[in-house]
Symmetry: C2
Subunit: 431 residues, 2 copies
């Protein structure tokens, strides 16, 4: 009896077209990260459960794939790349060159309820600078976000920035520090639940006047410096935090990339983890998609594992959400050309010759395959067409005896009859 | 209380140096595979246990990481890339362009006993052609093995070939067909347990005379065609299998790559799975390492999941074993140069200018980072040195006011004082 070849809910196969698109995006990101001197690392998919979840475990716990291995160890599959990175830094701190700039692009797993754009297996693209607490590092992460989307040719984005330290000063100023975590989590939901609901929750958490002030605080002004001035005033004047944010803004201006950045004090990132600058990135045409690249500054990455203080700043691109967005915007179109070459199989007895031709073409730096089956020419052209191949080489007995080939441009159907192979390669490279 | 940042036995972290080396090898393999028109796919790490292990489960079972997920489903982590590929083909056959050439490079997990070069998490590099049963396809996989090692600049290898069909004919000829599986598994162990022990086992399985003949059969002759003639005679004359092998050999000769290939009838690959040509690849300087690239022809990839017959041929490179071998041979030396550039931090107030310089250098196509900390110059040079950076840009107040930079070659310690940035970039690119 046959077994049904089904896959688990929330998990996906990637067929060649989509797998290639994802790979191309990853390659572009890797190039961007390495151009800034970031280095890749790798950590295991499976770790001790305690290492990933701590002694307690909590809400995340339920989403984590954890089990006992054959040696009765409690193990878990990583649910993000940050916790393993913290463990990695604690373990290898003395082998690393600080400040350490790493990127890590790989799969993580969460048994969440599946919904549009949410999967149980998905890829995160993390990049962090660890061992520094200064404006240069904060700025560099923002610059990498800017350059990454530029390299991906996604121009129509807004990177919204805020600063947790200034928000905390503001909350102290209105005597609401004791509710800081709940307030930030509430504000974080504004794009999902709306201004009115946020106001109601804030009013219950604090009082009418404070709720009013919080909503005033999180409202962006007409530009970056205008907004910054407002939140400085509302938070009781200049502080280390506001000076830092100002410094970062100066970096953005002086490198001429400030246009894409907006100071939006409603960005809080919810997580207690962050202590300084925080940011989220939105596709302007799809604000409802949510952030496709978020992060911020934290003052102690690995405090669970080591007494050594490791301040850092970083960000993560949600590759699957980004791809879902690009697909919706028609920016992930099936431009299925691989610019490759196929040597058609016109005469079985010439197959060794075809393989030789393909070798020569590959040695010139082009991708080239031999049509390996022995079907009719119509089938061969249709195979090439489906695969998005650009050029066909035809070599029948006439071409073979005159040591030539016929080159066919599969898009234009234009032929170059009986030319030397060298010449065909030159024509293909000209495009 | 701190949690110990330990990792599981058989699992590894990859620090930047080694992670980059592995990545570079993978990039070279991907380039080779795609140059032959192979396309990448992706499948989930977790699958239904039944899909991966069949209804029964067996010996592999014990090595597999399997558990109940939060929805009480029996799931397992993939232990190879072949079984998920078979499931993938059965599920997507109608969406794919046959013959289908896919490669897949990713991690798999087995809870085996750990030993030198054996890990519980390791990477496989699989490449297969599915939907064809002919010499062209058999040959192409061999050609890709040849080209892969050439691209990796590993020349001193031997690819040992045999053919299961001819072996079966031979066993029929000596009336030992009923013991075929046990005999092949025994012969497969010859490099591990030696000729004498193999003889003893074979003698018990069959008889003295048959054991003698089997050992004679598996002994390679003086060259490919000599060996082929011998095994044709011993297997009762020409057959479809021997004709196929001869055809493949002709392809190897006509494309001029026959040198690396040896016909070695002792290669059987043990697994019942294979039906035609089989091969293993050895580093000549480390024969004891075992095969670093093995595979063969199978006549039905996905018979567990579909009635559709899917003959194929493929191979898999054992990346971790290969890297262990290269390390032992000193071929994985720490040539830790990234040819990158670092802009040193001589004056904190000039940091925005340094970031601007780095942007210009990156825009020219070079990797460039700003030294983000504010330590002494000695520390900055030592940071650059440890990271293998090739060039430093120094820009103090003098350079800044004259709109120049000083370029330092970190290997030769040679300086170009106060030159325009454009000129520095040209010099760096010249190397």
């Amino acid at each position: 009896m046959l077994i049904e070849p089904k896959i688990l809910k929330g998990f996906r196969d990637f067929l060649p077209g989509k797998a290639l698109k994802r790979k191309n995006i990853i390659t572009i990101l890797e190039k961007t990260f390495t151009s800034f001197g970031f280095q890749t690392i790798d950590t295991p998919v499976l770790e001790y459960k305690e290492v990933l979840l701590g002694k307690g475990g909590g809400d995340t716990d339920k989403q984590v794939y954890s089990f006992k291995d054959n040696g009765k160890r409690d193990v878990a599959m990583r649910f993000d790349l940050t916790v393993p990175f913290a463990r990695f830094m604690a373990l290898h701190i003395n082998e690393l060159n600080l400040p350490f700039k790493r990127y890590h692009i790989d799969k993580v797993w969460r048994g969440e309820n599946t919904q549009k754009g949410r999967y149980r297996e998905f890829i995160q693209c993390d990049f962090d600078i660890v061992g520094l607490d200064n404006a240069s590092a904060d700025f560099e992460i923002l610059q990498i976000i800017h350059n990454s989307f530029k390299a991906l040719e996604i121009d129509n984005i807004t990177i919204k920035i805020a600063h947790r330290g200034i928000f905390n000063n503001f909350l102290a100023n209105i005597n609401a520090s004791d509710k800081a975590v709940e307030i930030m989590r509430t504000v974080d939901k504004i794009s999902k639940i709306g201004r009115d609901k946020v106001f109601d929750i804030l009013k219950d958490l604090t009082d009418l006047d404070s709720a009013d002030k919080i909503l005033e605080y999180i409202e962006p002004g007409k530009d970056f410096s205008d907004t910054l001035k407002k939140i400085i005033t509302m938070s009781g004047g200049k502080s280390e935090s506001s000076e830092r944010l100002w410094e970062v803004y100066e970096f953005l201006q002086k490198t001429g990339i400030e246009n894409l950045f907006q100071l939006d004090p409603s960005i809080t990132r919810g997580l207690d983890y962050y202590t300084g600058i925080v940011y989220e990135t939105f596709l302007n045409d799809l604000p409802g998609l949510g952030s496709v690249c978020s992060g911020g500054r934290y003052n102690n990455l690995a405090s669970v594992y080591t007494k050594r203080e490791l301040p850092g700043v970083g960000s993560s691109i949600g590759l699957d959400r980004l791809m879902a967005g690009l697909e919706e915007l028609g920016l992930l179109e099936n431009n299925n050309t691989n610019n490759g070459v196929i040597v058609l199989n016109m005469d079985k007895t010439l197959l060794p010759h075809y393989h030789k031709i393909a070798s020569v073409i590959r040695d010139s730096g082009l991708a080239c395959e031999v049509y390996l089956d022995s079907k009719k020419m119509g089938n061969q052209f249709s195979f090439a067409d489906k695969k998005g191949i650009s050029y066909a080489i035809l070599c029948g007995t006439e071409e073979h005896s005159s040591n030539t080939v016929t080159l066919k441009n599969l898009a234009t159907r234009e032929n170059h009859d009986k030319i030397p192979l060298d010449e065909a390669i030159v024509l293909i490279k000209k495009g």
